[in-house]
């Protein structure tokens, strides 16, 4: 019997199963689960309160199912997005999350003075003068702007509050 799903060499996934694992199929599953969770949660709401979220989550599940079926039937549309340097992307995200986590203990000023040069070095910038002058000017400027004309308190940091 001929394998209608594709002629994959033994031991390797068939093109059909590869299609299933494509981004769109995974996204469709994720969206469906998200919509279903929201739909399930609406059961706790009273009559009128749940109408709108139920309609929306139901529509979301329906579209996710259509997206999944489309991927299964026609495969994924070719993406025109250029290849990504995943390491650089991961480093920049990690640095951002680290920065956000550091603001509470260190405060905005100290955390930014650490983060800005670190992020620039992490993504490969090597012009030391430019990095440090930009860091001091930008962080200093934005700090003065918020504490001065904007009268907006910015996080001081737990460590500095001890002194």
């Amino acid at each position: 019997m001929t394998d209608t799903r594709g002629n994959a060499p033994p031991g390797q996934p068939s093109p059909a199963s590869l299609r299933l694992l494509s981004g769109d199929a995974l996204a469709a599953v994720g969206v469906f689960v998200f919509g279903a969770t929201a739909f399930f949660m609406t059961s706790d709401f009273s009559g009128q309160t749940r109408i709108f979220p139920q309609i929306v989550s139901g529509m979301m599940m329906f579209c996710a199912a259509l997206l999944f079926l489309r991927t299964l039937r026609f495969g994924q549309k070719p993406q025109v997005r250029p290849a990504v340097n995943k390491m650089a992307l991961g480093r920049s995200i990690a640095a951002t999350l680290g920065y956000v986590a550091l603001i509470v203990p260190l405060g905005f000023l100290a955390a930014s003075l650490i983060y800005m040069p670190l992020a620039a070095y992490l993504v490969g910038v090597r012009n030391h003068l430019l990095i440090w002058s930009m860091t001091i000017l930008f962080v200093g400027g934005i700090y003065l702007l918020f504490t001065g004309p904007f009268h907006t308190p910015i996080p001081r940091g737990l460590i500095f509050q001890l002194f």
Partner: protein, 500 residues
């Protein structure tokens, strides 16, 4: 109407408003000039900073960023053939060949002048067309408002982006986000996970900053890190390469196209339509793509002509037609102004002040975007993209913190940044999320009020004349991507030859 226009003009020429317009235009040009950054990012980052400003000063700043960024995209398009913004793609077709012939300065002068003309005509259209439309919109009751909102969401989901299904999913995600928090009618908590910070809902600003600021910043890190877009030294000589008689018809026609396209929600093809029309009607169509003056004039005038026009449905109906219009709507809400027909009655000085700001910032493009200023702005092309990443992140973090003076909003913004990045990588459009979030609460409120008015009878939504018109328009709109999908996925079978 005209007395309001005059009063607004007097407010707009106050020194602080003028300063905000100049600053905004310069910031916008810088943002647009840097490939990878956009007006959307600039406005998303600037809105939190505008908290401390009065509404008119804040709107003047944002108007400057909007117009400036649309024009700034011409710099890398002309000098490097890298469109700084999507709207500048057609600019590169003729701008770059002109620069190659040593006419970069002249090309930039023409680009600035064309942008200024397009933006000015568009701002005048906003002043003159918006008030009558607002008068019509005053007749709308809750069922009509519900369908207008559904039409706005459907338009963005259907027309913005390549994939209708993904657009609808993104819009649904935004609508669900709008349902988070205490229900206005019953007081019941929805999707708050017992977090006190979520009881007042998800702040629109935080989602805007998250999805529009973090992903482009992180994407910058994936490009050649240490290399600026323009490593070479640009020699820009100011010279006039065009005559008014050569371009004035093109300016008018392209501006008109830009206004029509701008008013229609979800349209992002104005520059291509105007460029093709200019080529079709030109006496020298063969010059297009090789350094045509008419081509460059068409591309740049249409580029700015849809800016103010896109605000017509936003201000009159409260339905944004683009991501930037949705951000502007969010900015108005943050300043306590509810876009819609009532805004023209309650705060006409704000509406017409904004229109004046769009007009004046368009005119500012002539001195700030021309060849003399270009020599200064061309230097920004030498900034390594890697250095822009921390600048954008720090600004976004502080902006999201300032929205409620709480770290919780920073965590939320970072979370939405990750969601936005994931959506972008999976080719889901981001604008429908914001539009769903902005319009969701209004759509739900109108739906429930309509049902309460009719004692639970849902036919009230389908029987009123304006509702029927809106339903027909929505269905017509949805048929466009449906037909596109049918053509894409069920192409016509090739005719089988018989006989032989």
């Amino acid at each position: 109407m005209f007395e309001h226009i005059f009063e607004a003009f007097l407010l707009v020429i106050q020194p602080e408003v003028l300063l905000a317009m100049v600053l905004g235009t310069v910031m916008g040009i810088l943002l647009g000039a840097l490939p990878g950054l956009s007006a959307t990012l600039g406005i998303a980052l600037a809105i939190p900073f505008s908290y401390a400003l009065s509404p008119l000063v804040a709107l003047a700043l944002l108007a400057g960023i909007h117009n400036g960024a649309s024009q700034g995209g011409a710099f890398p398009a002309i000098l490097l053939r890298i469109p700084g913004t999507p709207g500048a793609i057609c600019t590169s077709f003729d701008g770059y060949p002109l620069a190659q012939r040593g006419k970069a300065g002249g090309a930039m002068n023409l680009a600035a002048m064309s942008s200024a003309v397009g933006g000015t005509i568009s701002a005048i259209a906003l002043m003159l067309l918006a008030p009558p439309l607002a008068q019509v919109a005053l007749a709308f009751g809750p069922p009509e408002i519900f369908w207008v909102n559904i039409f706005g969401i459907a338009a963005i989901a259907a027309l913005l982006g390549d994939d209708f299904l993904k657009g609808v999913i993104a819009a649904c995600f935004g609508l669900l986000l709008s349902a988070i928090g205490i229900d206005n009618v019953t007081g019941q908590e929805r999707f708050t996970f017992d977090l006190m910070q979520l009881s007042s809902g998800i702040p629109i600003l935080v989602v805007m900053v998250g999805v529009f600021s973090f992903p482009p910043a992180w994407e910058l890190a994936t490009r050649s890190m240490n290399q600026a877009a323009g490593g070479e030294t640009f020699k820009i000589v100011s010279e006039k390469i065009w005559k008014l008689s050569q371009v004035w018809r093109i300016w008018l026609k392209s501006s008109f196209i830009g206004i029509i396209i701008g008013i229609l929600p979800g349209s992002a093809i104005g520059s291509f339509i105007a460029y093709n029309e200019a080529r079709r009607s030109s006496k020298n169509p063969d010059e297009f793509g090789k350094g045509s003056i008419e081509g460059l004039a068409a591309a740049e005038s249409v580029n700015n002509a849809d800016n103010a026009a896109a605000m017509i449905p936003t201000l009159t109906l409260g339905v944004p037609g683009s991501a930037i219009a949705a951000l502007m709507l969010g900015a108005l809400l943050i300043h306590g102004l509810q876009p819609g027909p009532q805004l023209f009655r309650d705060a006409p000085q704000i509406v017409f002040g904004y229109a004046w700001a769009m007009l004046i910032t368009s005119l500012l493009l002539i001195p700030l975007g021309g060849a003399v200023a270009s020599r200064l702005f061309a230097h920004v092309l030498r900034i390594p993209p890697g250095l822009l990443l921390p600048i954008i992140v720090v600004t976004a973090v502080l902006g999201s913190f300032a929205s409620q003076n709480a770290m919780f909003t920073v965590y939320l913004a970072a979370l939405f940044g990750l969601i936005g990045l994931m959506m972008e990588r999976l080719n889901f459009p981001l604008a429908p999320v914001i539009i769903g979030l902005v319009l969701g609460a209004k759509a739900e409120f109108s739906l429930r009020i309509s049902l309460m008015m009719s004692g639970g009878d849902a036919t009230v939504l389908f029987t009123r004349p304006i509702c029927i018109v809106m339903i027909c328009l929505t269905l017509l709109l949805l048929s466009i991507p449906a037909r596109r999908a049918l053509r894409l996925y069920w192409p016509k079978r090739p005719a089988t030859t018989t006989g032989g």
